[in-house]
């Protein structure tokens, strides 16, 4: 296959073992951990984020193999390489209090936010018991009543929706201490919806955090066909929001910068725009081998695998031992397996008993008005 990823092996069972080998290979390029913002870089926080990253990686590895085995219909989109960014956001938010609208590559963030693997498995496998009941699939899932929004496919549209939840809370006098957050890709920034949503949030000075995961490609389209600015963080000033840049491959950096942006928003600092630099370490979806990604990019620092690097960082800082990580990994793998096993056995939706109604109000439903 043309598009074999440097880190392909990472989705197999040997992650912690690989880590130790790579640690030696890579350590020359490792930045020394900068522990400037000690509050945020607590051991606990990093361990929590890392577990969410691992969970995301392992869940997605499973989804990939289910897809390849023909057990998932439709698309499977992975966040491989984006887990540090995603989990750093998800773990900074509290379900029930905060608002989160993840995007396609946010399995780790969803896990960090508290979504059970079972919801994911059920949605991908189309279980009638899942949150989307087979009506929608894969990444198009959420639990809106808990502030966990269910994205539509049209990129950029979540920004204004999250802003709306926050505006509603302000009107109700319940905004204090809340944050709303969403992610978007480099490509998604080209949509009018993104622009309108971020601008609206800026005008209203809402506690909104928007993470741009600049993974160098939108599907096959490289960034230079997507925008012409030096860096997307140059957009922050034009919206009048606070801008941040972060190395998306580094758990430590993501935890600090993204965690910091969430705190800043929470404390009344208004909208925050975080641009994370990284590389998508998979195809656009599992149908795509990503062979258009040039070799030099695959070998650049952007291609570092944040899950491997994160383990190195945890170990180097003494926040976790290799054994612990191996342990988490196997626990999470079991949890993923269990979720998939349950969802696989659940009933699919049944067209005959399906409620074919798009409106909630019975008197507004037309029923089948065809003869």
């Amino acid at each position: 296959m043309n598009g074999v990823w440097q880190g392909e092996a990472k989705i197999n069972a040997e992650i912690p073992l690989l880590i130790s080998q790579r640690l030696i290979k890579h350590c020359s390029v490792l930045p020394s951990p900068t522990l400037t913002d000690a509050d945020l870089q607590t051991k606990d926080q990093l361990r929590t984020i890392y577990r969410a990253m691992l969970g995301g990686r392992l869940m997605e590895a499973k989804l990939s193999s289910l897809y390849k085995a023909g057990k998932i219909v439709g698309g499977v989109y992975l966040g491989t390489g984006q887990e540090a960014v995603s989990a750093s956001l998800g773990c900074s938010l509290t379900m029930g209090r905060d608002v989160y609208s993840p995007l396609i590559r946010d399995q780790a963030g969803r896990t960090g936010f508290g979504e059970p693997f079972l919801d994911c498995a059920r949605t991908y496998l189309g279980s009638a018991a899942g949150p989307m009941r087979g009506r929608d699939g894969n990444i198009h899932r959420g639990n809106p009543a808990e502030g966990y929004l269910a994205m539509i496919s049209h990129l950029g549209t979540s920004v204004s929706a999250v802003a709306g939840v926050l505006l509603a809370r302000r009107i109700k006098g319940e905004l204090e201490g809340c944050v709303g957050a969403t992610c978007i890709g480099d490509g998604g920034t080209s949509t009018g919806a993104f622009h309108e949503g971020l601008n609206l949030a800026a005008v209203e000075k809402l506690p909104l955090v928007v993470i741009i995961a600049d993974n160098q490609f939108a599907y096959s389209t490289p960034s230079d066909r997507q925008f012409a600015c030096r860096d997307l963080s140059a957009r922050a000033e034009g919206y009048g929001v606070k801008g941040h840049e972060v190395d998306g491959t580094s758990l430590e950096d993501c935890a600090r910068v993204i965690g910091g942006a969430v705190e800043a928003a929470r404390e009344g600092g208004g909208p925050q725009l975080v641009v994370a630099k990284l590389l998508r370490l998979s195809g656009h979806g599992e149908h795509d081998d990503g062979s258009y990604v040039p070799q030099e990019l695959r070998q650049s620092l952007l291609a570092r695998d944040c899950v491997e690097l994160g383990a190195e960082q945890l170990i180097a800082a003494g926040h976790a031992t290799r054994e612990e990580i191996t342990q988490w990994s196997s626990e999470l793998r079991d949890a993923v397996q269990e979720a998939v096993a349950i969802a696989t056995q659940e009933a699919a939706p049944d067209a005959r008993t399906e409620d074919w109604f798009a409106l909630s109000t019975p008197s507004m439903r037309e029923g089948d008005y065809e003869s």
Partner: protein, 325 residues
Amino acid sequence: MIASDVTYIDAIREAQADLLREDERVFLYGQDIGKFGGAFKATKGLQEAYPDRVIDSPISEDAMVGMAIGAAIEGMRPIVEMQFADFSSVAFNQLVNHAGTHYYRTGVPIPITVRMPSGGTPGSGPFHSQSMEAIYAHYPGLVVVTPATVSDAYSMLKQSVELDDPVIFCEHKFLYRWLKSDSLEGDDLPIGKARIARHGKHATVVAYSAMVHEAVRAADILKEEGGWDVEVVDLRSVKPLDTDTVIASVARTGRLLALGEAFPWGGVTAEVISRVCTEAFHLLDAPPQRLNARDTPVPYHPNLWAAHRPTPESICASLRHLLTY
């Protein structure tokens, strides 16, 4: 409120004032709706009374609707004002793909009401005259209402906001100041029920919004002219569309003209004729007739505008054809 000489636009303002007063979940969002009171003054004075719940938006129709969707998820009842229905084209995606799909996908309904100043007035031209009800009714998940009277403008706006589902509220600009009544109160029919606007026995005109009044005028002319009794059904909402009331009328008259101000391809008139013909074919004593605007953009010049949409004259011509078939 009992007012004398209350207009259609007054009714819309009063409904919003009532809603703001009665329901803390209600807030208004739109361009220039605050201190300025809106392009048509539908929100005049409301920001003064409810400063936190009448909010001026940027010129961002997509985000305006996206914001309302988020607020609705959070339990609010936003009313979004489009400055003109025509500009909702920019919010089309959020309306049909976000608001319209949400309940089916997640089980969480989206109680937003989007007010659309609709329909033509002389000199408004291609981009300030459109009737977009068919566009929104085609997609699943939206209720589309088209009040034709002062009391319906009032009561249906209140009902729309009370509904748990997204409502496209098509209010006709031509009626804003032209249509007067001495009371806001009416028969308070629920959304989804059509009304017999004028009783008759020789033919049924199914219309909605401003065309109800043109149909009634045409019916009056034909009464005068030949003693014809033409019944006019005011659909009131085009989705749901009250097929039962339409068919009951056709059962009485045996003749159907479907009338609308929107573009001719598809739309309400096609849906009405299609429903009647599939469900009540044998009640028809003559081929059904159909009358819409022409298949061009709505022209600017009053001469062209008046000939683009159906008029009492063109309605009479259709009806004569139908009645003498």
